[in-house]
Amino acid sequence: MDNYNSADISAFKDVWVFCEQREGVIQQTSFELISEGRRLADELGCKLYALVLGDNIEKQAKEAAGYGADGVVLCESPLLKTYTTDGYTKVIVDTVKERKPEVVLFGATYIGRDLGPRCAARLHTGLCADCTHLDVSVPVYQEFLKGASTLTPERIEGTSSAIVMGQQHDVSHDLKMTRPAFGGHLMATIICPRFRPAMATVRPGVMKKAPFDQARADAAEIIRPVINLTEADFETEILAVEKAAKKLVDLIGADYVVSVGRGIAKDVEGGIKLGQQLADELGGVLGGSRVTVDSGWLSADHQVGQTGKTVHPKVYIALGISGAIQHKAGMQDSECIIAVNTNPSAPIFEIADYGIVGDLFKVVPMLIDSIKAVKAAK
């Protein structure tokens, strides 16, 4: 067997962002990743490429580059029109082997989390799942730790190197991939010191999209790798692709989110209705904690938290949510947090900007009335 532990990692350079397209439309999360990838490429002193697979997709690919990429690695084939694990894995692995990027990022979507592990396993490299923060520069990373962790200054100082295979390893050129673990109770930073590319799936909605730059899009270099893909490479066959009949809740883009939790248990229907009314009054959307989804009160697209969606709205209102760490992981970066809970020692009050200790069934109707009154007085 190959001696895997002597891979030449210095032969790899550039950052690639896999851009996910569905029916020819590149997904928002890919633009977020391109903007984040720009920062990482600058820290590494290399170029950033958007990796786009599809059919007849050059125009959209160049547009994606407008969010921060120097160029596009464009893989076009009728066989790549719709996502398949088989086709996309083969083309990405072939292209990565040929062009040797140092970092490859995927959105942690249903597709990214199907594709990333398969590519990483075939390339014999590491993949870090569902990252919420990325760094290359050690000073920038340590500055992040100062605000985001309870680590001592000595321990933060110590993160400039790690023990890898029994030896001291300088991490200054490694991608530092930070993610929640154990349901968000802990954060961990992962490195992939011995193999390239370092690969990560990144949680949608966490990275900030830069403004679109038409000049950058126009100037994007286009690289067209040779595609060796035939029908024989497919072990799966797509019979149908359907959109959900019901419009799903767009929590990630919402400015105002009103979420309900276990506190609605005594009157689930009434509690959801109140939450929805308050959300409507603010022009926001309704979300829910894990228990509301696990109990079947709300559909899964409503879930905020470590296993649901990460939101950072202008205002997040938590109704009857205790604030388990798993929930906080998905909403603690909201600009303003308001909590209503009967239990004064609920952890949600530790992060709330404004708290009301009381029964949501009593407080929310009064609050809706007060908001209406304020609006009417304008």
Binding site: T85, T150, A162
Partner: protein
């Protein structure tokens, strides 16, 4: 035909989680459970067994006490189980873990009409990586996020969920499927099953058992075979406490509405 269900014993992260002063998890103080999504994979396998009479084999990698979890899955209706356990396997990341489990499945024998089922992801790591990586190591097709599964001879038709809809995908066995919570309602252990669970075999595969498998190499298993390393783990600081608005009455509601107005929210 057999269905191999991959399961994991995990700390119950939905309850109180204890963190030690050095920032690592105090596993000893936590209860362990069968990973919730894995129960949906077990149920999916047992449903196919109900229809076809196929064999269901539960597989896990973990320390020796994980045998108890395998007995529970046998009590639900599985026919036998395999515990992959050894010091050499410790410290594995998802890459190395899938390497070892794939080797265990290869050792057991993967036939043309077999299916491997996994849960979507485990609640301790939440990576969702080991399932697809097992499929890759075994060179078989995968469908993740299964919301419905139909088996017709050697064809498997799966409704693969997406954020905004779904795809219907057909593949041939042998293949791997990862199952989501919405797929089914896992059954309970039956009284009969509990009584019988210690009569059925739980084989233990250790390093000695698997060392001649092509996938097992000191450079691809355990800590040494893991491409990723943990640089540091930490707990986030608490955000400063905010203002508690006293009362929970009409005045409190007005006060909050005024704050929202001053912040130009309404």
């Amino acid at each position: 035909m057999k269905i191999i269900v991959c399961v994991k014993q995990v700390p119950d992260t939905s309850g109180k989680v204890a963190v030690k002063p050095d920032g690592t998890l105090d596993r000893a103080s936590m209860l362990t459970i069968i990973n919730p999504d894995d129960l949906n994979a077990v149920e999916a396998a047992l449903k196919i067994k109900d229809q076809t009479g196929c064999e269901v084999v539960a597989v896990t990698m973990g320390p020796p006490p994980a045998e108890k979890m395998l007995r529970e899955i046998i009590a639900m209706g599985a026919d036998r189980a395999v515990l992959i356990s050894g010091r050499e396997f410790g410290g594995s990341d998802t890459f190395a873990t899938s390497q070892i489990i794939a080797a265990g499945i290869h050792h057991m024998g993967l036939n043309d009409d077999d299916i491997i089922m996994c849960g979507r992801q485990a609640i301790d790591g939440d990576t969702a990586q080991v399932g697809p990586q097992i499929a890759e190591k075994l060179g078989i097709p995968q469908i993740t996020y299964a919301g419905d599964i139909k088996v017709e001879g050697k064809d498997v038709i799966v409704k693969r969920m997406l954020e905004d809809g779904f795809m219907n995908i057909k593949m041939k066995t042998p293949c791997l499927i990862t199952c989501i919570k919405e797929l089914n309602e896992p059954r309970y252990m039956s009284t009969f099953g509990i009584f019988g669970s210690y009569q059925k075999p739980v084989d233990v595969y250790d390093y000695e058992t698997l060392k001649d498998e092509p996938l097992i190499d000191k450079d691809t298993i355990g800590l040494q075979g893991s491409p990723t390393n943990i640089l540091v783990s930490f707990t986030p600081p608490l955000k400063g406490a905010g203002v508690i608005l006293e009362g929970a009455d009409k005045n409190t509601a007005n006060e909050l509405a005024d704050i929202l107005e001053k912040k130009h929210i309404i």
